[in-house]
């Protein structure tokens, strides 16, 4: 599954890890994150993420 990077602060969302702090279980692809999910590091919205190669 593809990793996505926050263009504001550089945080990398790794689907294999998820975002346990915000109840996102491992195995959740970026596309399936809820609309109101925000960067756990700096708080920008999903729109600021870009897919990594």
């Amino acid at each position: 599954m593809e990793k996505w990077e926050c263009t504001a602060c550089g945080y990398i969302y790794d689907p294999d890890v998820g975002d346990p702090e915000h109840d996102i279980p491992p195995g959740t692809p970026f596309e399936s994150l809820p609309d109101d999910w925000v960067c756990p590091q700096c708080g920008v919205s999903k729109e600021f993420f870009q897919k990594m190669d």
Partner: protein, 405 residues
């Protein structure tokens, strides 16, 4: 141990949050002039574009601060700073003492000192309140002029255009867009791409007056030319908010001067983010504010940590256009090697700057493939070794660079 943090922007909030991670018993108070809880400023762009509702600008859910045991006092103005007693005065009446302090007061928009800058219809974009009043004014559908062709100016222009206002012109003082991130070739390419989307540009123009009956109607330039404008958005840089620090006698220059531990001239008082000047430099960028906030938090927690500076790396997204600019992009002097590739038809421009074999700067426009790997290479000031001649190839397998680390 009580820590007072002045400011709840990114630097202040992240300092508080990191300090809490490091020390579960620290008493942490954050004092905020704004009445809203922390929100990342880039979200204002999406809000302006109509892509993000107001209630989703905020980074953390209600109750977050309580859970983190952070005392965040919103809508409070710090009216005095007593560095000898390590105390602050709030709203001219309350006095709070601390063991250590952090100045994270951020910056204000830099407004050019020209006649009419305070006229109705002139805006800037720094806070939620700024965004709300700008949006309200835009509902009448004015011709919009954005003063400043830097990152923020372009983002604002794109957002306003996306919202449905078709007459949006960006005015830039330099003769190219993004003078800090792009060279002439790259800026020209970016401009033509943005023009295709419907934005207009005026380069090499210095505004000298904003005139009108009551509200703005005209911008006058130094060369005698003028431009009709129903609304003006100023995005021509930031000014660190130093007043408190200066009055308190802390060493300051353009920003509050900090050492490599991000400590000000008064031991126990630190500064981070847009207000801090480290080795002569004020970054005004999120990743740098983030690095600084974390460093300050470690030092506050007694785990001494040094800050060596941040290498600016920006990935800009203007309506689907990717731009990465990292490190030194317009080298001056001798000893540099420059490799570049321009493909106008496909809107592609790549440039690499090397010194003594090490990669010290890069521009990557129109393609995101490889941009992260190149940025990392620049940040690590790596020698690309055997791959140097392959880096500009569109089909290069960038994962091969991993062998360099």
């Amino acid at each position: 141990m009580r820590t007072i943090i002045l400011g709840n922007g990114l630097a202040g909030t992240m300092t508080g949050r990191t300090l809490r991670e490091l020390d579960s018993s620290a008493e942490i108070t954050i004092i905020s002039q704004e009445k809203y809880p922390y929100y990342p400023r880039p979200n204002l762009i999406d809000f302006l574009a109509g892509e993000l509702p107001l209630n989703r600008l905020f980074a953390f859910p209600p109750g977050w601060a309580e859970k983190q045991k952070l005392e965040i006092r919103l809508g409070k103005e710090v009216t005095g700073l007593d560095v000898d007693e390590m105390a602050v005065e709030i709203d001219r009446k309350e006095r709070l003492k601390a063991d250590q302090m952090v100045l994270a007061t951020g910056a204000s928009p830099l407004l050019p000192a020209i006649p009419g800058i305070d006229r109705k219809g002139v805006f800037c974009l720094r806070t939620i309140d700024d965004a709300v009043s700008l949006l309200e004014f835009l509902s009448t559908g004015p011709e919009v002029v954005v003063l400043g062709g830097g990152l923020l100016g372009l983002e604002i222009a794109r957002a306003i255009h996306k919202r449905g206002l078709k007459q949006v012109t960006v005015v830039e003082y330099f003769n190219r867009l993004l003078p800090r991130q792009l060279d002439e070739t790259g800026a020209g390419l970016l401009q033509s791409q943005l023009e295709k989307m419907g934005l207009k540009f005026l380069l090499g123009k210095e505004a000298v007056e904003i005139s009108g009956q009551e509200a703005v109607s005209l911008i006058k330039f130094k060369d005698g030319s003028q431009l009709t404008a129903g609304a003006v958005v100023v995005a021509s840089g930031i000014r660190p908010r130093l007043e408190l620090a200066v009055k308190a006698g802390l060493a300051s220059n353009r920003g509050v001067v900090v050492d490599d531990f991000l400590q000000t001239s008064r031991p126990g008082i630190y500064a981070a983010g847009d207000v801090a000047e480290h080795r002569g430099r004020i970054y005004g960028l999120i990743p740098a504010a983030f690095d600084q906030a974390r460093t300050v938090a470690y030092n506050l927690a007694g785990q001494i940590k040094k800050y060596e500076g941040s290498i600016p790396a920006n990935t800009l997204k203007v309506a689907g256009l990717f731009l990465t600019s990292a490190g030194l992009i317009s080298p001056e002097g001798e000893g540099f090697e420059v490799l570049s590739k321009l493909d106008k038809e496909n809107g592609l421009y790549k440039k690499l700057i090397l010194k003594d074999g090490q990669l010290v700067g890069a521009i990557w426009l129109g393609s995101k493939k490889g941009s992260q790997e190149i940025t990392r290479l620049v940040q690590a000031q790596k020698n690309p070794g055997p791959y140097k001649s392959d880096l500009l190839a569109d089909d290069f397998d960038f994962s091969r660079l991993n062998s360099l680390y």
